[in-house]
Amino acid sequence: MDATIVQAVLSGALIGMIYALIAAGLSLIFGLMEIVNFAHGEFLMLAMFSSFWMWELWRLDPLASLPITAALMFGVGVLTNRLLVMRVLNAPALAQIFATFGLGLFLRASAQYLWTADFRAIQDPFLSRVAGGRIALGRDVFIGVPQLVAAVIAAVAFALLGLLIRRTRLGLALQAVAEDRSTAALMGIPAGRMFDLGWGIAAACVGIAGAVLASFYYIYPSVGVTFALLAYIIVALGGFGSITGALIAGIMVGLVEIVAPLLLGIPPAYKYALVFTLYLLVVLVRPQGLFGRY
């Protein structure tokens, strides 16, 4: 096979893992409360700035500050649920959309005001110095160390999320609340606490994604917009509320975005058009998405 194609498949799969982790958070919240978090991209932006400032102020590498960023974002998720989402839980869908959409706008505008619209980057993060920043997998096939480690961390986070949901009592309670919150309450499960937990975990997933992206991606107030758009597509593609669906659809989108332009001889600028085409094709055949229930 052509080395460029192999290279593209690898890059696509690696970035796809990160897309999947971002989308998993979105899907978790939707599965739990049937609410779409339209501030998801801004959560990612906050996580990237958290990494940036810890590097800028204390020279903490994004990898070292990852646990802090994840914990901070867990808190952001819980606060968002407590202060905003719980208030619109029984409100019409439109009010719910405006609540999280408004939060997203507010966060983006605040970031611009506080930190300006400048593009920032973390210079020479630890991972870019490991093995010269890239590993040769053959003649003309390289993968970047930051990208590889980012994908591995995303995969580990994904596996932990799966274990938490499928193998623990807390995960069982989350699933029960997702299916029928009032019957879950009769079992002694406090729905409000589970919603806090769901938002916290979802935001922590985005936090981890943001922390690993910070090693090799520009950081600016609207950085989350494209990622969020892709995450919505991935959730719809994988099926609303399905974590496995998010994983597979995330990797699919990563692959289509990078490999398809190459195969079809289309300029990379049109990569999102290809992603949308994939989405439309799947949704025409299976409106509920690949693994969806809704």
């Binding site: 009592r169 069982l172 309670a173 699933q175 029960a176 299916e179 029928d180 009032s182 019957t183 879950a184 309450a185 009769l186 079992m187 002694g188 499960i189 406090p190 729905a191 229930r293």
Partner: protein
């Protein structure tokens, strides 16, 4: 008919002058009744009389407008449902409401989610599976694939996993074939014989009044008759006016 348990003691559950409404439309108008430890108490009455609403108010799913609900001497009004469950009230809701996407075992383990039930979980599970051998055969199947009767057994079994002080059953025989209904009544009799306190709602009035120690007849949100199950069954007034017998 079993001997009536000692009723000199304070009731386990005491409901007094309970008013409940749905969006301003009243459903219960000043309901009062009690359940003593070890009793089977039945609530009977026509569709829409307010039987399910009464159970929902007790388990905290609907906050009452006024009145009091006490377990022992503890006031339950305004407590959230998960806290009421943790006190040992198991509400097996109308329509079963099992978690259909989860397995039979997962449903049962959710029944013992409350901290108080955790330490005895394995032992209770064994007891529940002995009571319902069908559930043991289907332990790892998604609950949604069970038959109606099996789903009802699961709903009751899930309630029992709490090791409840009070078991509330809302129309456990609804929509089931006569043979299965008999099985459900057998289970209620077995539980009662083992000393379980049960608040039972049933459409199957004759059989319910035969097994209940006491019963209350509800009509449009109020209690209109009360007495021992067998006595109510023989009262012409109750038979004609409220039970349609």
């Amino acid at each position: 008919m079993q001997a009536r348990p000692d009723r000199a003691s304070t009731p386990l559950l005491a409901v007094e002058d309970l008013h409940v409404s749905y969006g301003g439309v009243p459903a219960l108008y000043g309901l009062s009744f009690e359940v003593h430890a070890g009793e089977v108490v039945a609530l009977v009455g026509a569709n829409g009389a307010g039987k399910s609403t009464t159970l929902r108010a007790i388990s905290g799913l609907i906050p009452p407008d006024s009145g009091s609900i006490r377990l022992d001497d503890r006031q339950l009004n305004r407590m959230p449902p998960h806290a009421i469950a943790a006190l040992g009230i198991a509400h097996v809701p109308e329509g079963r409401r099992i978690f259909s996407r989860l397995s039979v075992l997962q449903n049962l383990l959710l029944g013992s989610y409350a901290r108080t039930a955790r330490s005895t979980e394995q032992q209770t599970l064994e007891e529940v599976l002995t009571l319902f051998p069908r559930l043991r055969e289907r332990l790892h199947q998604p609950a949604g694939t069970l038959s109606g009767g099996e789903q009802q057994m699961l709903a009751i079994g899930r309630g029992l996993m709490l090791r409840p002080r009070l078991l509330m059953l809302d129309e456990p025989s609804l929509g089931l074939a006569p043979l299965i209904v008999e099985g459900i009544f057998d289970v209620v009799r077995t539980l009662s014989a083992s000393g379980m306190t049960i608040l039972l709602i049933e459409q199957n009035v004759q059989e319910t009044l035969m097994l209940a120690h006491r019963a209350y007849v509800l009509q449009v949100g109020q209690i209109v008759a009360t007495g021992a199950g067998v006595d109510l069954l023989q009262s012409d007034l109750v038979r004609r006016a409220y039970l349609g017998l």
